[in-house]
């Protein structure tokens, strides 16, 4: 029996500023500011072609971010987002090109594979108690390797033409249906976390697994479901890339998705420690990243500096959030 230790109260006191509604408005303002800057420097930024390309890219980034976000909600992380994505890509290529299945079946098969791979991650984590970092680090390699062995890294270039056509489709001249799908997925996630029992249970399990378990939440089941969801979302992102490219390429995803999968959620206010998600924030975070990428491309600054920029932005964002929390903490407690 230990005495209550009141000091732990203080740490829990604040939600991160990045998560509040005001912070999301702030993020939106930053995105808008970048748009303003880029369009002033390069009028081509606002061309319908660029906006369309930006929208498509954004859709993929958003869904990749969601894939990571749903696992962050449980207090873990999913390093296999990219691997699951590329596995889904090649699976749909196989189903559509080699087996000649109708498109809905091909897509469904890819999503199902994503779910299964996610399920494997979830089960491994829950049954072995090993933390998600290691399990998904290993499974990322496992899945990627298996995919390469099975497909010999041969791309599928002869997919049904409707796939590529869908990717080139433009609504109102600028909006890609992919973006609409991404936003729709976001809406579903908002409903999940705000209006369903399952969503609340996931957040409870992520915030404090022990307390949640003690309150009757089936923590293990909820974690597995989150990983399944993550896998399906990663697969969905992969399918979007196929639509964009018009082909199923084994170079999709992989480690390339690692940073973007964190950028969206973290910039948007999802806590790394679990228990709190920001769906809109993730979309805005992805928007910031895509905007900058697109802007640098249009300004022909060279993709190279993009990496540097992204890293610095991430650092800056977490630093700002951290100092805001620390400042509030200091004000309320006094010197320690």
């Amino acid at each position: 029996m230990t005495e209550a230790s009141p000091e732990t109260l203080v740490i829990r006191r604040r939600r991160p500023m990045l998560g509040g509604a005001s912070a999301q408005v702030g993020l939106l303002a930053i995105v808008a500011a970048f748009w303003f800057v880029f369009s002033s420097l390069a009028p081509g930024f606002l061309s319908s072609f660029n906006l369309f390309a930006l929208g498509r890219s954004l859709a993929v980034d958003i869904v990749i971010g969601f894939s990571q976000m749903v696992v962050l909600a449980t207090g873990g992380m999913n390093l296999a987002v990219g691997s699951i994505g590329v596995c889904a890509v090649m699976m749909s290529g196989f189903l559509l090109q080699d087996l000649g299945l109708p498109i809905p079946l091909g897509l469904a098969g890819a999503l199902a594979l994503g779910g299964v791979l996610g399920w494997m991650n979830g089960i491994a984590i829950v049954k072995t108690g090993v933390n998600a970092f290691i399990i998904t680090l290993a499974s990322a390699s496992l899945f990627l390797g298996a995919m390469l062995i099975l497909t010999k890294a041969v791309p599928y270039n002869a997919l049904p033409p409707e796939v590529g056509a869908f990717g080139r489709l433009r609504l109102f001249g600028v909006v890609s249906p992919l973006l609409v799908i991404a936003v729709a997925i976001g809406a579903v996630l908002v409903v999940l976390y705000r209006f369903t029992s399952l969503g609340r249970q996931i957040l409870a399990a992520g915030a404090n697994p022990r307390a949640a378990a003690m309150s009757g939440v089936p923590v293990g089941r909820v974690i597995v479901i989150s990983h399944v969801l993550s896998g399906v979302l990663a697969a969905a992102a992969g399918l979007m890339v196929i639509a964009r490219l018009g082909a199923a390429m084994p170079a999709t995803g992989g480690e390339e998705w690692l940073l973007p999968s964190f950028l969206g959620p973290v910039l948007g206010g999802t806590l790394l420690s679990g228990g709190s998600v920001a769906v809109i924030g993730t979309m805005l975070g992805a928007a910031l990243v895509t905007t900058i990428r697109s802007g640098l491309l249009v300004l022909q600054i060279g993709n190279f500096w993009l990496q540097l920029f992204l890293g610095l932005i991430l650092l800056f964002a977490v630093l700002v959030d951290r100092y805001r929390s620390v400042y509030a903490e200091r004000r309320s407690v006094g010197p320690r």
Binding site: S5, P6, L203, N208, M214, S215, V217
Partner: protein
């Protein structure tokens, strides 16, 4: 020779005033006991002395000069060493290395393990020759780890030594060795603060005693020679603020809702037998380490049942986990560690109360409307008089008492029929304590059966209908409760002390 003076020190945390103008004066060459119930403020005071906390008010004086410790290192440097309640050892390091961690000896730049072993051996031999200084600490038993911690504190040759429940996990033999050691240190002029709730030990070894109650002094440095057992106990629990006995109790307690027969568990329980009836409040009393919380957790699937059986409403059951306990058997559990296990501090009051009923609140589409949760939760907030600015307030910001009410509310919301309540009023002020006791009485009258685990004797005597006494992971007796503190507490303590005969006493 060093004197340590605590002058009117205060410390507050959000929602609770842990210490309020507390004083203590420590003289060289004495063993000074620091006593008080759980939540009285002892650990907070220790943490201030050892530099983990800074006081909000008052001063700490060393040899008459005010000092301010910015960190534990400062306290160490000032000659204060401590053995804390929690283990502070590096699991993969050897015993010797742990003991000398502050000042690893080197020879030509490299760590000198020979010296480490001989030095550590010196201090360890004062307590237990059987522990090898070269083995990794993680292979030791809990008792042995505690010995290592004590040896470590001793090796610092501090002028002021604080010991927080040092005998909690060690054997009588080791305790005797420790006491002999402390007496020698006292003769050498060391000042020792000895925190313990074991009255016999305090009477055996302390020169003077300071008692804390609800964050304030109940006694400052009174000589043990003038102290009696009864007076010490009353100082700790505060006779004027006697906990009120519950009002009329349910007459009919005949339906058995839960029964344990010859239960043994994987964590060490043996032949546990007891029954809980509808509407009854059965107390489970025991000291630290008696195995009560472990029994509760075992009942809820936390540990394996290795023998005997558990029956609910007459039928044998096997509970896998808390989820099953709640959804299938309507059993709720209020954990003693409410911050880590009872509540989700970063979530709102609304969510914390509704957590047990989310699945029920969902409509046909599986959705829970924004109003539904609030409507479900509001009645309980009102009934329990939970003080919160809004339902959206983060639970972490509430006071301890209100937090506990939230923790209880969620089980009321879930319509639990059986409630296992573990140390419900630790660290909570007297007024809220009474509220919670009345609440327990009220819900038991409404038909909820309660198993109350507590080491708070006055609480137990005031609230429980009957009291099971637990010691060493067995039930060693049952006491019918006449709600009179003197007689009931004597009967209970007699059961615990009789255990030396290794025979559980008969029901009185």
């Amino acid at each position: 020779m060093t004197t340590l003076t605590i002058e009117s020190v205060s410390k507050a945390f959000p929602g609770v005033q842990a210490l309020d103008g507390v004083s203590l004066d420590l003289r060289p060459g004495e063993i000074h006991a620091l006593m008080g119930e759980n939540g009285a403020g002892k650990s907070t005071l220790i943490k201030i002395i050892t530099g983990l906390y800074r006081p909000d008010g008052g001063r700490v004086l060393l040899d008459g000069k005010p000092v301010e410790f910015g960190s534990p290192r400062d306290a160490l440097a000032a000659g204060i060493s401590a053995v804390h309640q929690e283990r502070n050892l590096i699991p993969r390091f050897s015993v010797g290395e742990n003991i000398l961690l502050e000042r690893l000896p080197t020879r030509s730049g490299l760590v000198d393990y020979d010296t480490i072993n001989t030095e550590a051996r010196r201090y360890l031999d004062l307590l237990d020759r059987g522990i090898d200084t070269r083995v990794e600490v993680r292979t030791l038993s809990v008792a042995q780890m505690q010995i290592v911690e004590i040896a470590k504190a001793l090796s610092l040759e501090a002028k002021i030594l604080l010991m927080d429940e040092p005998t909690a996990s060690i054997t009588e033999h080791e305790t005797a060795a420790l006491f002999a050691l402390l007496k020698r240190l006292r003769a050498d002029g060391v000042a020792i603060v000895f925190v313990s709730h074991k009255l016999e030990e305090v009477f055996a070894i302390a020169d003077r005693v300071t008692v804390l109650r609800d964050g304030k002094n109940a006694a400052i440095g009174e000589p043990m020679a003038d102290m009696t057992r009864d007076r010490l106990v009353s100082l700790m629990i505060g006779r004027e603020e006697r906990i009120a006995v519950l009002g009329e109790r349910s007459a009919d307690l005949s339906t058995t809702v839960l029964e344990a027969r010859n239960l043994s568990t994987s964590v060490g329980h043996r032949d546990v037998d007891f029954a809980l009836h509808r509407g009854e409040i059965v107390g489970l009393y025991g000291l630290v380490g008696a195995g009560r919380s472990e029994l509760a957790k075992a009942l809820l699937g936390g540990a394996a049942v290795t023998g005997g059986e558990l029956r609910l409403a007459g039928k044998p059951v096997h509970i896998r986990d808390m989820h099953e306990a709640l959804s299938k058997y309507r059993i709720g559990y209020i954990s003693e560690d409410r911050k880590a296990e009872g509540l989700i501090l970063m979530h709102s009051v609304r969510k914390n109360i509704a957590v047990t009923i989310w699945q029920k609140l969902a409509n046909a589409l599986g959705l829970i409307g924004t109003g539904a949760e609030t409507r479900a939760v509001q009645p309980f907030v009102r009934r329990l008089e939970i003080r919160t600015p809004s339902l959206g307030q983060l639970v972490g910001n509430l006071s301890g008492g209100n937090q506990q009410k939230v923790s209880i509310a969620k089980w009321l919301a879930a319509n639990a029929e059986i409630l296992i309540v573990d140390e419900p009023t630790v660290g909570i002020d007297i007024k809220t304590k009474t509220d919670i006791h009345e609440l327990l009485g009220e819900i038991s009258r409404a038909g909820v059966s309660i198993l109350l685990i507590s080491s708070d004797m006055p609480e137990m005597v005031a609230v429980a209908d009957r009291i099971l006494v637990m010691h060493g992971f067995r039930i060693v007796g049952e006491v019918a409760n006449d709600h009179h503190y003197e007689t009931a507490s004597k009967a209970i303590m007699a059961r615990i002390h009789a255990v030396g005969d290794a025979k559980p006493a008969a029901v009185e």
